[in-house]
Assembly symmetry: C2
């Protein structure tokens, strides 16, 4: 089972494992305590990191050496990427060895014909975007933390972002992976071909595995081409059902839909007051939807005007505005992207990142509101998200008169009630954030016992001593 | 290990398992021998079916009852779909029980907002296309045998087709699966949500598993919208390198590319003489490329004219023609789609469905030709395929003066040599067709020993008695 650092470890033996300047101990002068510990934590801020060994390998072979040593000496390992997660997946709190991918950030290969790139897993996502653009291509997985997140972590958590409705999750862009399993074995899955129907597609297991099967060290990614231009449409909607009908209508516009986001009047209010920006429309509405379309020329613009006319005539919107220029597009996006920040500045919130079949969203929200009204009066919900993907951010806002301690205690009671509702409506307790430590106890609401047993058997086949991120996910 | 029918089986016990008229024995009068045996064979025509029990369950629960019985009585099972495969994956030649999904062809559910449909796995692919169209949507996985193939078989073999370059393989369109494992346990993977980051995505293992982990009984599929119209462009090319540059250029046209197919002068000659259609261009060229683009309006057409101009100016093509109407489009497609039929009518061929990184295709083909010239003089290659996906159909044509027996014996010698070349150039020995029985002995050219061991362990976790399609894939 889960193991902690074996104190018989020979420090100099470990340090010499992959050459000088690559393995550090907590008492080394190279790092102050805060910086050192930051490599074993993430954005949850709930768990206290506690570990003594920090490794910075530079190649897959060095990763294999470290894991082989860890396997032989029964040392647990926490892979450390950009540490931008919200589920505690990258927390090292049990004296694990923290294996940072930060020094593995090189481009390894590029195919200009097919449009694919092979990189080391520690490459910052933003840098991959740059590399792709320099090569006249585009890597479409994009979200707020790409300036810090790493591509390996993105894959290990099957990252999504704001344009999933068009480009899908990162799973769709992974051609091949090089990984090191929990025995220190290097496996290369699939190389760089698009088609390879030769048995089980094992790389799929690593996508979203949160470091529990091994370490992703290299990835070959499919690239696409950059959208020429885009147009943002912001609309005000009077009821939730209209949001779904609106999404249905977008299937019929022959202009590619890049994003379909929504937020409530409550969220808009917080953004307005925090950022000091005006109301988008004359009268308030309970819901707002932001749509972004890829446009190539004027004829696409005409189609969007036609679309705006259609949804107005059908009574699906009460007001709507097509951004006239990129500055207005940015403003429209601010209403949506400013929400998290605006709320968390002024309030304490309990975050939930859930998903549901679109048609079940409304009954779920009705049940959820009556749950809160009944059991937790005074709790308000900040509701927004990638509604086109079935993905809701349901953040519970702490009432002013409740202490933080009491609030989080009550949230711990709300969670299982909400997860039961999600189960009833065939939803998922984690759309994008993953399970990590934070939702481990609730995994059974989204996965059956039989599935959890299968996952454990699969883990055992690649990590027989359970040294890879032990205690995470299940 | 692999088991055959246990002769102590109580026929009436088995017949009564899922109600009358659903389980048949070889000597029952309901089926003549040929029809009966056709349920345990596919299009390879290499293997002789030999089995005595044929089941037609109508629900997942009935499939579970059969497999539970088979598990307890150690009877092997071959899942039987549309039997359009080319790898021997659906062959029952060792007295297995053949489990046909043909009576499981219902639509179970539909979400008009998100655009997803849940069907039983025995639904004929063409019927799914119809169902989707009636609902104003489109299911984009399309290929020659969709009139017979079933959606469950498509998923079990990760089917592709002619528009993979735009829509990807079927893997990309599967939201959820219901399966029955080798113990008779029913598992529901993922339901219908797009985002569900809660541990390993187990359904991915079943996609492309060729029936070796269990039976896929139900599938929830993502739908899209139908392309409004399309335009076919046929060009003549003087060298292979230009094909790749041409593909690279298509990344820059802002009109969606639906297909990028190629064929050689040799293939064109066979199609012309078999179908009696004229040359597409005045002078012959060594290679031809067929491109299909989705067009929404005149401005897209203008872009395509611009594209044709660009590739002409850059010297990438020697001649080119944009289809002026749908009839001409059909003719252009005939040059490509008539190849298999035209060649197999007049010649005996040894088929290969391989894939390669695009940039490695040319050196591979050079090596392959020198291999054939050296060791097998007189062997000609009919080369065509989905070159945009890295997928080549490399069919070796039997010289007239060689007997069938000698030809196939020689082909058995060629295969490993070719697979070694594929390995050298990081290709796959099976792009779309799968492994089945036909390529089982060569799996190691595309997958490492460590991967094969992992696959076996995964199989054991879901099919501990190895009763699910034993002897296939590995």
């Amino acid at each position: 089972m889960s193991m902690t650092t074996n104190f018989t470890i020979n420090k100099s033996e470990l340090k010499s494992l992959i050459g000088p300047g690559k393995i550090f101990f907590r008492d080394d002068p190279e790092f102050d305590e805060t910086t050192f510990l930051s490599f074993g934590t993430d954005r949850t801020k709930v768990y206290q990191p506690d570990f003594d060994i920090l490794a910075f390998p530079t190649t897959t072979e060095e990763v294999a050496k470290i894991i082989k040593y860890a396997y032989e000496n029964e040392i647990s390992i926490v892979p450390s990427g950009g540490r931008t997660g919200y589920a505690g997946g990258a927390i090292a709190k049990n004296k694990e060895l923290v294996l940072s991918l930060s020094k593995m950030d090189k481009v390894l290969d590029f195919d200009p014909f097919f449009g694919s790139i092979k990189v080391q897993a520690g490459m910052i996502t933003k840098n991959l975007h740059k590399e792709a653009e320099e090569k006249n291509f585009y890597f479409p997985v994009d979200f707020a933390s790409t300036g810090s997140s790493q591509i390996g972590g993105n894959i290990a958590t099957n990252a999504g972002g704001v344009r999933v409705v068009h480009y899908g999750l990162i799973r769709q862009w992974v051609l091949g992976l090089t990984v090191v399993t929990g025995t220190g074995e290097i496996l290369e899955f699939n190389g760089e071909v698009l088609k390879n129907n030769t048995g089980y597609d094992l790389k799929q297991l690593f996508i979203g595995s949160e470091g529990t099967l091994g370490v992703i060290t290299e990835a070959t990614l499919k690239l696409t081409t950059k959208p020429l231009d885009s147009r943002v449409l912001l609309v005000a909607v009077s009821d939730f059902a209209s949001i779904l009908s609106l999404f249905q209508e977008t299937h019929l516009v022959k202009v590619p839909l890049l994003a379909f986001e929504f937020f409530t009047e409550y969220c808009l209010g917080k953004v307005k007051s925090h950022l000091g920006i005006p109301d988008p429309f004359q009268s308030p509405s309970p819901y707002y939807v932001l749509m972004e379309f890829e446009i190539a020329d004027e004829s696409d613009d005409e189609k969007l005007f036609g679309f705006l006319e259609t949804i107005t005539e059908k009574g699906l919107i009460v007001d709507g505005s097509l951004a006239q220029n990129s500055r207005q597009s940015e403003t429209f996006w601010k209403y949506r992207e400013g929400i998290s920040e605006s709320i968390s500045i002024e309030y304490t919130v309990h975050k939930n990142d859930i998903s549901l079949p679109l048609r079940n969203m409304e009954p779920f929200l009705v049940d959820m509101k009556s749950l809160l009204n009944g059991k937790y009066p005074g709790f308000e919900i900040a509701l927004f998200g990638h509604v086109g993907d079935g993905n809701l951010h349901l953040n519970i806002v702490k009432p002013k008169d409740l202490s933080n301690e009491d609030f989080f205690k009550k949230c711990k009671e709300v969670d299982p009630d909400m997860f039961r509702l999600l189960q009833k409506y065939h939803g998922s307790i984690s759309a994008e954030h993953g399970i990590g430590l934070l939702k481990k106890d609730f995994l059974h609401f989204s996965r059956t016992q039989a599935e959890i047993i299968l996952m454990k058997e699969i883990k055992k086949s690649m990590d027989p001593k359970n040294i890879m991120n032990p205690g995470k996910v299940f």
